[in-house]
């Protein structure tokens, strides 16, 4: 089996994997980073969104091998120790989550939105979330959270 190496949440990791191993499988099953979830098999729900080299990506639609040499960050790496990232804090403050299953992908996607658009409008937030499904919240409080999180990230 080939070996794959990358940096995950700042740590260098390496493992032998079958080529068919998806990045999300590598994160969950090899590294035990179970915060990244799998909610569909057609690349639409976004529960698996992580950052690869700073950009959001669906880790269920990437082979682990494709991330060779990349810098990957997951929901587990977002907070600063016990201090939540401003986007995480905004979700908590605005009740932007219920069952929590879509939440890691939502938060990682939202952080990437702010990277590309520091001051998004409500409509821009809703359009950005095309690749993230939530069944609990009706998105109302997710949108509110992301708008608040974007402001907080600007300090």
């Amino acid at each position: 089996m080939p070996t794959v190496s990358m940096t995950v949440n700042g740590k260098s990791v390496s493992a032998e994997v079958e080529p068919r191993t998806l990045l999300v499988q590598y994160l969950r099953e090899h590294l035990g980073l179970t915060g990244t979830h799998v909610g569909c098999d057609t690349s639409q729900c976004g529960a698996c969104v992580v950052h690869v080299d700073g950009e959001s990506a669906k880790s269920c639609t990437m082979l682990a091998m494709q991330a060779e040499g990349s810098d990957v960050s997951t929901i587990e790496g977002l907070a600063d120790g016990d201090t939540l990232h401003p986007m995480q804090e905004a979700f908590r403050e605005n009740h932007g989550l219920q069952c929590g299953f879509c939440t890691p992908g939502m938060v990682m996607s939202a952080v990437d939105l702010v990277r590309t658009n520091a001051d998004p409008s409500e409509q821009e937030v809703r359009e950005w979330l095309e690749g993230n499904l939530c069944r609990c919240t009706g998105y109302h409080n997710i949108v509110k959270s992301i708008l608040a999180g974007a402001k907080a990230m600007q300090g």
């Binding site: 080939p2 080529p19 068919r20 639409q44 959001s56 996607s109 939105l113 950005w128």
Partner: protein
Amino acid sequence: MYNFNYKKASSRDDAVAAQSSADDGSYLAGGMTLIPTLKQRLAQPSDLIDLADVGDLAGISDDGGAITIGAMTTHATVAESEVVTSKIPALAALAGHIGDPQVRNRGTIGGSIANNDPAADYPAGCVGLNATIITNKRELPAEDFFTDLFETALEEGELVTAVSFPIPDKAAYAKFPNPASRYAIVGVMVAQTGGETRAAVTGASQSGVFRAADIEAALGSGLDAAAAKEVKVSADNLNADIHASAEYRAHLISIMASRAAAAAG
């Protein structure tokens, strides 16, 4: 997924050689269609040849009269490119509405057109803008490249390397998305380039992207949006599924063409 061998190609030649030596090798660009297909076990290539490290396949250049986009350039890069947004804003807008942000971060123009999904956006962009598809072997007009559903003129092992878009005088793309998949139920690229008016339609036809002659005639040299809206497009040979009847698609071709024409100004 079935198992396969994986190779990261270091150059075009390396990629082509790896493909030709494999039993049933498949190029891997962004993987946004290929990987879901593999996950559903709908394909079983012996080898995947990853093009991500072939450096000269990505990038955007302005050649004066045309903009050339490397095959491995992502949709997000096209959408955000200063060159594309200033010279062919219709193309940047098209790229900026493919899939979702995560698809746009990894999906590539070469992967999209080589797959030729009948509901994808780029085929309409390429045909409407009269693009030239450049491969490792030849150059051919987009109209000759897209041959049928998921079928292209690519020969076994032939590799798309870039797409060259002449800069149009006016152009706009209007898409009516499938409510579930968000692929195009109908997408129309209306463009006027060097006196020629084109209206290329994706999503609607049983044989993939096509130019709508009656719409083009109605649009004329002035891109007459009102005239396009009045065209009664035939529903013959159009797709029908649980999301849209052939008649609805035919109607939407006129509406989307009209809206694109109005946006193109």
